[in-house]
């Protein structure tokens, strides 16, 4: 019997290896494209290519260089080889998978192949993967890097010479200044939009209420500087607008992390401990906190007494999709950031850098806000976002999909 099990395991392992060789889920550097970049070409060679290109420089239309690094960049992406781009993230969970899928959606249109790499929640693995990506001949990196290792990650990626942009999280130096072009959110502003929406709309649900009966639970993750920033405005604005109201911070850092269950536990504890509060608002740094919080009010039968509006939409949309029109929910709104809106500038920007049509000093400089808190030496692409509700979310995503995927595609 044990020999059979042993044999089965050997077969499983062999099958696994063969499957890996077949390209795996994310594909191999050896792509099916006929114009695949030679993997031997070292990263430093790629980086050392002159800005004006060379043999592989893509043909640019007469109105260039406008829109360099934008999705509607007029360059012919099929006048060159297929670029191999690595997407490197600290973990590969729901959000990262969504962003990765959104990047893949542009592969045929922009003539590149993206492969995901993850640090598996291990900073050492994350940093080593930067060198691994370079050693395997990738042309560019879209880098989602956590702040605690940003300084070292910057040193390593600069040594490799592979063109890169920061994605989702700013890459900052020791002085807290940006060191490369980045596709990010204005984190403070996202939180501000959620509390502003609640203030502007609560009367349509409850009419006039006594502010002393109102409580705000502000869900945050203090271990993540970016996510923590999203919780700043709700606190400031709520305290200023409703001085008699009750403010509670729910920190998920040591309570289970960025999960709906962590939010459920923390929000349930807060609400249960304060029966004197009749009306609840919940704001949150991530969409998972919206799902978890809404479950609390469902379970307590307080759906009509709570309004939840958080940053992020993916998990909330899953919730809304599962509801019938008659289903009541305290999850009334969220700040939506389409994955396509993240992915489009990221892939377009890194392609412009690989092409040599932009440098990290010139890319998206016109997009950088003049008062950007982390410095204005490099381009900052602030991802557009909007508050959506249960009534408007389908239209919102249909419009984004139509704009980014159904128009302007390569038609050869």
């Amino acid at each position: 019997m044990k020999k059979i099990i042993s044999l089965l395991l050997v077969v499983l392992m062999a099958a696994g290896l063969l499957a890996c060789g077949g390209g795996g889920q994310n594909g191999n550097i050896e792509t099916s494209g006929t114009e695949t970049q030679t993997p031997d070409a070292s990263a430093s060679e790629t980086a050392a290519a002159p800005p004006d290109g060379g043999a592989d420089t893509p043909a640019v239309s007469a109105d260039a260089p406008q829109n360099v690094g934008y999705i509607d960049d007029p360059v012919d992406h099929f006048a060159r080889d297929t670029y191999q781009i690595a997407y490197l993230s600290p973990a590969f969970m729901f959000l990262q998978q969504s962003w990765f899928a959104a990047m893949q959606a542009f592969e045929e249109r922009l003539n590149f192949k993206v492969t995901s790499f993850t640090g598996e929640n291990n900073s050492d693995t994350y940093l080593t993967n930067i060198e691994l990506i370079a050693s395997q001949g990738y042309d560019g990196i879209i880098m989602d890097c956590e702040q605690p290792v940003a300084v070292r990650a910057y040193e390593i990626i600069e040594e490799t010479g592979v063109p890169y942009i920061a994605f989702v999280q700013s890459l900052l130096d020791e002085n807290g200044k940006t060191v490369c072009p980045q596709v990010v959110l204005d984190q403070y502003d996202t939180g501000k939009k959620t509390i502003d929406w609640l203030i502007a709309n609560y009367k349509s649900y409850w009419g006039e209420i006594d502010a002393s009966t109102l409580g705000l639970i502000d869900c945050t993750v203090t271990t993540s500087p970016d996510l923590a920033l999203r919780a700043v405005a709700p606190e400031e604005i709520f305290k200023a607008t409703f001085p008699e109201g009750h403010y509670f911070m729910a920190d998920m850092a040591a309570a289970g992390g960025v999960t709906a269950d962590a939010a459920y536990t923390q929000v349930m504890a807060t609400v249960s401990a304060h029966p004197e509060i009749e009306h609840w608002w919940v704001t949150g740094s991530t969409e998972f906190f919206g799902s978890g919080s809404a479950r609390v009010f469902d379970d307590l039968g307080k759906v009509d007494d709570a309004l939840v509006c958080v940053v992020g939409a993916g998990a909330n949309i899953v919730d809304w999709d599962s509801m019938t029109p008659d289903t009541k929910s305290s999850l009334v709104a969220c700040l939506a950031i389409s994955d396509l809106l993240y992915a489009a500038p990221a892939v377009s920007g890194v392609i412009a850098l690989i092409d040599g049509r932009a440098t990290k000093e010139t890319l998206w400089r016109d997009k950088t806000p003049a008062d950007w808190q982390f410095g204005t030496d490099y381009g900052v692409w602030l991802v557009e976002n909007d508050i959506i509700t249960r009534d408007t979310y389908k239209t919102y995503f249909e419009e984004i999909n139509a704009k980014y995927l159904l128009s302007g595609g390569h038609t050869d």
Binding site: L9, L17, G24, Q25, D40, S123, E131, T222, P225
Partner: protein, 328 residues
């Protein structure tokens, strides 16, 4: 006839099983990677680099496992020590003082574990898990869960410098020295033999004059020290003491120890096999990454690899057991 028996015996050895597995892994990924890029010198360095911190945790828990104990607080202890070390440096403490102080903190946590196990009488599994939770909480408290930059030039030099055309990191040299030291300590000294004896039969060891409690204290304190060193080295490599630290490497360390032949039951295993086991795990994971395999499938594949190694090991032990009973 004799040479045939010798050949068979040679191939029944655990080390040979591991070496064959390593060769299979390397050969398979070399063939499957484009132009053999798996064996690119920079990639080989990547494989070894990732062993540095994990190897210290493996040595920490490996010694305890051989003695029949376990320490589930190595990750949390190392993480706490990493951030305390960074805070001490940030506070202007000279690096040698910070280093010694942090190692002492790690050792104190180890001694506390030993007290809970040997004096209070808690199961090692429960005691060290509780201590891990305390250490994890203290890590958050230490700097409000915010990472602490490490800027000391000596420490960052240790963490990031590489010799021989950028191929040999200083941290890897430290890990190799540690491996050699513990291989000799456990394999060629009276202390090492005592540890194996305790792991094999604690009562018999006691009756033969060995002091199991004393050895247990030494091993737990040693585990605390190595965990602290792992946290310090990671902080040096990252140039930052972080709240995630080495927590996620703890179980990789235990997996490597088991793959290398260290038994949970105690009394067996050696660090030569553990070293090869770590090479297999890191080489395997790296190969899957090189091939662009989803991290989810990497996790599945790593589990299958471990199951395969454990099964082969079990069958070999069973065969040897039968041979011995026949002779008897």
């Amino acid at each position: 006839m004799e040479s045939a028996k010798g050949f068979k015996k040679f191939f029944n050895e655990k080390m040979v099983t591991l070496l064959v597995l390593l060769v299979i892994v390397v050969a398979a990924f070399t063939v499957l990677s484009k132009n053999g890029s798996y064996l690119h010198p920079a990639n080989i360095r990547n494989i070894f680099s990732l062993m540095v911190v994990t190897s210290l945790l493996t040595l920490a828990v490996g010694c305890l496992m051989i003695s029949g104990n376990i320490d589930l607080s190595t990750g949390a202890n190392g993480t706490l020590c990493g951030i305390l070390f960074a805070l001490l440096l940030q506070g202007g403490v000279a690096w040698p003082v910070a280093l010694i102080a942090t190692l002492l903190i790690g050792m104190a946590i180890g001694a506390f574990n030993a007290t809970l196990v040997n004096i209070v009488g808690f199961q090692p599994f429960i005691a060290t898990m509780a201590v891990a939770s305390v250490a994890k909480g203290l890590t958050y408290v230490a700097n409000n869960a915010v990472a602490v930059p490490v800027k000391d030039p000596v420490i960052t030099w240790i963490g990031t410098e590489r010799f021989f055309n950028n191929l040999l990191p200083v941290t890897l040299i430290i890990a190799i020295v540690a491996f050699v030291f513990y291989t000799v300590l456990m394999g060629a000294t009276e202390f090492g033999r005592s540890v194996y004896l305790i792991g094999g039969n604690r009562e018999a060891a006691r009756l033969s004059g060995i002091h199991p409690v004393k050895i247990s204290y030494i091993l737990f304190i040693n585990s605390g020290m190595l965990s602290a060193l792992a946290g310090i080295l990671l902080a040096a490599r990252l140039k930052s003491g972080t709240v995630t630290g080495v927590v996620n490497m703890q179980f990789s360390g235990m997996t490597a120890a088991m793959l290398g032949g260290v038994s949970f039951g105690g009394g067996s295993g050696g660090f030569g096999g553990v070293f090869i086991g770590m090479l297999i795990i890191n080489g395997f994971n790296n190969g899957l990454t090189v091939l662009g395999v989803s991290s989810y499938w990497q996790t599945v594949a790593s589990g299958v690899l471990l199951l395969f190694a454990l099964t082969v090991d079990y069958l070999n032990m069973k065969r040897r057991g039968k041979r011995v009973s026949k002779r008897g």
